[in-house]
């Protein structure tokens, strides 16, 4: 049995759009998603903007319920949020009044970890994300990349089985993003977590994922799942070596082709909406 199973999951919202009030239409964000993710797997979901990627993650995080279909986690349906899943947000979601260490402890406070142990655990995860010595800084004293490292450490600290990441590196500059991608792969290999990573970046998807699920534009469906196996990675290549390899380029082109029509369609939809 797979770790995570999406079984024809559909999610629709009643439209709040005033222009459509007469119609009282429903907005279908996700339409019949089928996807299986194995334990310990790193799966990237990539799609054009507005395709319901974040809705997919909200459903898995238990923050919303599917309109139809079901989501199984370890064979049991997801009924609500829980500490077996940790979410990393694009906007970091750090508590600005707490230090880096305090933010990591925040995750542990929800579990039953005793106070003394919390600080030790938090420090351990601060070290893991490479922020040793920055524990007493407040978020506004940290760079964007450092903040996201703290957020990742917070999600890892309470030891969830699954890490859900919602475009976590989208707000970072290119260099920082690349170094955090390497860091994330290293952490994933060390901890053996199941990772579901959402992005709109094709390179990021190819670089990080063992499998890349490409979504269609609205309503979101899984168009195709591309298994990525980079032989040069086995040889220890990272960073630019890996990105410039011919097989990397081939995967990138494959996913780009899959996405291309969808992006064009999404833009068309947006235009139509704006002109209504």
């Amino acid at each position: 049995m797979a770790k995570i199973v999406f079984d024809s999951v559909t999610k629709s919202f009643p439209t709040k759009d005033r222009k459509n009030r007469r119609g009282r239409e429903e907005f279908t964000a996700l339409d019949g998603i089928d996807l299986e993710i194995e334990a310990g797997e790193f799966v990237v979901v990539v799609g054009p903007s507005g395709c319901g990627k974040s809705t997919l993650l909200d459903l898995l995080g238990g923050l919303t319920r599917p309109t139809s279909g079901r989501i199984l986690l370890d064979g049991r349906p997801v009924t609500g949020p829980g500490l077996d899943r940790g979410i990393v947000f694009q906007q970091y979601a750090l508590l600005p009044w707490r230090t880096a260490l305090g933010n990591i402890e925040f995750g542990l406070e929800a579990t039953g970890v005793p106070r003394r142990e919390r600080t030790d655990r938090a420090r351990e995860f601060l070290d893991l994300v490479g922020l040793t010595g920055f524990g007493d800084r407040h978020p506004h004293e940290l760079s964007g990349g450092m903040r996201q490292r703290v957020a990742i450490a917070r999600s890892l600290a309470y030891d969830p089985d699954v890490l859900l990441m919602d475009e976590p590196f989208a707000a970072l500059d290119a260099q920082t993003r690349e170094s955090l991608q390497d860091e994330l792969r290293r952490i994933w290999q060390r901890t053996g977590k199941t990772v579901v990573f959402i992005t709109h970046g094709i390179e990021e998807a190819v670089y990080l994922g063992q499998r890349v699920a490409v979504m269609t534009s609205r309503p979101g469906r899984v168009k195709e799942v591309v298994p990525v196996s980079l032989g040069t990675r086995g040889a220890g290549a990272t960073g630019e070596d890996l990105r410039s390899s011919p097989e990397f380029a081939r995967y990138r082109h494959e996913i780009w082709t899959l996405l291309h029509d969808e992006v064009a369609r999404a833009q068309q939809l947006e235009k139509e909406e704006a002109s209504v």
């Binding site: 923050l63 949020p81 500490l83 940790g86 979601a93 009044w97 407040h138």
Partner: protein, 304 residues
């Protein structure tokens, strides 16, 4: 309401001097020249000559406006620019103030005023903060009550003073009540909007971690709201003194407002100014205290 209008106008007219006085003093820090240089000798080596000069200059700058005001106040009546009967020189006022202090009158009136205004202010904080958190959390309730609260907030508390007197008599109850009433609105409205403005991502984070609602409040909403709540509390602090003085001018046997009013009736003009100066000093000190607490509680804030 028509019977009350006269009293209200009188109260507002009587209130005019302290209102005019307060901002002039409030622009600068309360403890000016003497307080500043004291920390300097504590670390004589660390402080270079340049820094000492800068500190002195800063202290001078901060107290300059107040000193100028005092100088003007002293000289203008003496030179006959204003009628010394209605505006006695500041030295005479200081003398009167000292006498009032020595014979215990000032202490008595100040005590009466402080108990009323702090009492009312304290009750308002205790009531309005939890109530605001509750209303702010339930969005529909906030939307429902919003317009009503705006009406109450924008109805000058002093305009309601006659109503309070009618309902509660002229004793302590009506005075403390009007202070409570006037203080509740700024705190309540600021608290409600603080809860509404709490970062939705943080709320989502807490939800994703399956935090219970009380925990969510304790760990996320409340700390995120502290700065905005404190802005309301600081407004209420100023309002508490303002409203109280006016209330004391109408029907009271003690209190600084009474002192000012009674002195005016008895033509004890220096005593009247002594009362006014005391009120403005209390106002500045109270505000400074609240600012200090606010800074303590919101150290984490991003420096603007």
């Amino acid at each position: 309401m028509s019977t009350g209008t006269d009293t209200t106008v009188a109260a507002l007219a009587g209130l005019a001097p302290p209102v005019d006085e307060a901002p002039a003093v409030r622009k600068t820090a309360p403890a000016p020249a003497p307080a500043k240089p004291t920390p300097v000798p504590a670390a004589p080596r660390a402080v270079s000559v340049g820094r000492l000069g800068r500190l002195l200059r800063a202290a001078g700058l901060r107290s300059a406006a107040i000193l100028a005001l005092l100088a003007l106040w002293e000289t203008a009546p003496r030179l006959g620019l204003v009628d010394a009967t209605f505006l006695p020189p500041v030295s005479e006022v200081a003398e009167a103030w000292w006498e009032l202090l020595a014979d215990g009158q000032l202490g008595e009136h100040t005590g009466a005023s402080l108990i009323r205004s702090f009492g009312g202010f304290g009750i308002a904080v205790v009531v309005a903060v939890p109530l605001g958190l509750l209303i702010g959390w339930y969005r529909p309730v906030a939307a429902l009550l919003g317009p009503l609260l705006e009406v109450f907030r924008n109805t000058a508390a002093l305009a309601l003073l006659p109503v309070f007197v009618l309902l509660l008599g002229i004793g302590e109850t009506s005075k403390v009540s009007i202070v409570v009433y006037a203080c509740v609105w700024p705190i309540l409205l600021n608290t409600i909007s603080a809860v509404g403005n709490a970062d939705p991502t943080l709320v989502k984070l807490a939800r994703s971690m399956d935090l219970s609602t009380p925990r969510l409040f304790q760990k996320v909403i409340l700390p995120a709201s502290v700065p905005a709540i404190f802005t309301g509390i600081r407004l209420a602090g100023a309002v508490s003194i303002l409203v109280l003085v006016a209330a004391e001018m109408i029907g009271a046997k003690a209190g600084l407002g009474y002192l000012i009013n009674a002195s005016q009736y008895n033509f004890a003009i220096p005593q009247m100014y002594a009362g006014i100066v005391t009120i403005s000093a209390i106002g500045v000190a109270f505000n400074q205290l609240l600012v200090t607490i606010e800074r303590r509680l919101s150290l984490w804030r991003v420096p603007a």
